[in-house]
């Protein structure tokens, strides 16, 4: 599973960071940083929740 963020859509609401702070981090510069681009399969539930709750639909996965 590879995380893909559409940075044209991302508005740094940081909801993904609430779900999985070890994968998604919005820093003080208000940009999103993906800390783990290919998290383990055991994190799929959290990643799916981040995708579902992203207000701008900016997150998706490949694989």
């Amino acid at each position: 599973m590879k995380i893909v963020v559409d940075f044209d859509k991302c508005k740094s609401n940081a909801v993904c960071m609430a779900v999985a702070p070890d994968i998604f981090e919005v820093r003080d510069d208000n940009f999103l940083y993906v800390l783990q681009e290919e998290p383990g399969e055991e994190r799929r539930g959290d990643v799916e929740e981040a995708i579902r709750t992203c207000p701008t639909g900016a997150i998706s996965v490949e694989g």
């Binding site: 909801v15 960071m17 609430a18 579902r52």
Partner: protein, 403 residues
């Protein structure tokens, strides 16, 4: 109790909560018949841009679609363009137009609609905002150069005011209370919201009541209780929303400013509710019964309600820390948790002077909420502390250690 044996689930309400329920039902293995009843003729679409990018002309209608990959993989019958008008809980039937559908599981997600002013006239140029058509109509007025009068300085009124200013229009905002959103955020942050709009050229008038909206064929002015008037070509009435539950009157479901649900979002056996109309006890806040009219709640509740339906008697409680965002001018406002303007509030990061700060709120010794301007990272960090029921002192200590 064993999970129910479901053959036909009907989701009533074709917006975000209903869509998330459909997706969760299929994701979690429901293979029976699935029907979505939606009052609007559109497939589910995203509403937050209707007061922001879409109203600004920076996003088109196609970009609003919530499910760009389509609906084939959900194997759902989309019954769009007519609202459900009746429900018989005992007979397990729902009425739509001339049809009566039988179901054995239901998700109620018909949302809310704008609250009108008492005696609101049916005049051209007087608008409310809920649907894509509402936003299109308002956009046409702005395109034509209308002077805009917004009644109500809540999030929708404030966002439309900001967008209209961005399009170069004259904007007056009328607020009955002494500050915008003062009941929700208190006088200090209310004053920050007021200065944000005044800085951007909005004529914000607070503590004023609306007497009447008048005009000939078209709206011409808003008459105020203090004897003054606002001349305008467009009015937005943005004084809140009412849960859309009229079709449930007489159904046997408990209605009280929404659909009354248990902790797992169940309104009756085999019937769950989600989104703007759902009232449920939230264990994250001492089982306070709440109803939340925001995007994130709709998406989380839609998913959870579907899972509750599939789990039957083993359903788990929906425990949530509400999250709200609003984009006004170049400021992203975010709020998490549960608080009111009367609660103790401390500004713990940044400064309101440059519209970059975070405030936290205290209730019963705990940190119960946080609100930030342009500080997404901090606000989200407090969301976790609120979920973990951290003390207010612990939140203050975190703030001191992370200046």
């Amino acid at each position: 109790m064993a999970p129910p044996n479901l053959d036909h689930v009907v989701v009533v309400g074709g917006s975000l909560a209903g869509l998330r329920a459909l997706e969760a039902l299929r994701h979690d293995g429901y293979r029976g018949q699935l029907t979505l009843i939606g009052a609007e003729s559109h497939e589910p679409y995203d509403r937050p841009p209707l007061s922001k990018d879409f109203l600004a002309g920076a996003a088109d209608a196609a970009s609003l679609a919530l499910r760009k990959q389509g609906y084939d993989d959900l194997d759902v019958t989309l019954a769009l363009g007519a609202p459900a008008h009746s429900l018989d809980v005992d007979a397990r039937t729902v009425g739509v137009g001339d049809d009566t559908l039988r179901f054995d599981g239901m998700v109620i997600a018909t949302g809310a609609h704008p609250r009108p002013l008492p005696d609101q006239p049916d005049l051209a140029g007087v608008h409310t905002l809920r649907t894509v058509e509402d936003s299109d109509a308002l956009s046409e007025r702005l395109e034509a150069g209308a002077r805009m009068c917004v009644i109500g300085a809540g999030f929708i009124g404030a966002e439309v005011a900001a967008t209209a200013r961005g399009r170069g229009r004259d904007v007056t905002v009328l607020e009955a209370l002494p500050q915008p959103m003062v009941r929700g955020v208190g006088p200090v942050i209310g004053a920050v919201l007021a200065s944000l709009h005044r800085d951007h050229g909005v004529d914000l008038r607070v503590g004023v009541g609306v007497e009447s909206i008048t005009g000939g064929a078209h709206v011409e002015r808003v008459q105020l209780a203090d004897g003054t008037a606002v001349e305008c070509e467009a009015v937005l009435v943005a004084i809140g929303a009412v849960p859309t539950t009229d079709w449930l009157e007489g159904s046997g479901l408990a209605l009280d400013n929404g659909v009354v649900c248990d902790a797992a979002l169940r309104a009756a056996p085999g019937i769950v509710a989600a989104g703007d109309l759902c009232r449920w006890p939230n264990a994250a806040f001492d089982d306070e019964v709440m109803r939340i009219e925001h995007w994130t709640n709709a998406t989380e509740q839609g998913t959870h309600a579907a899972r509750s339906l599939l789990a039957g008697g083993d359903a788990e409680p929906f425990v949530a820390v509400p999250f709200v965002w609003s984009d006004q001018y170049d400021v992203k406002i975010q709020s998490v948790g549960r608080f009111s303007g009367d609660d103790r509030m401390e500004i713990v990061h940044g400064s309101p002077d440059d519209y970059k700060f975070t405030a936290i709120f205290e209730r019963n010794g705990r940190v119960s909420g946080a609100l930030g301007f342009n500080m997404a990272r901090r606000v989200i960090q407090y969301r976790r502390m609120i979920a973990e029921r951290a003390t207010f002192d612990a939140a203050l200590a975190f703030a001191a250690a992370n200046p």
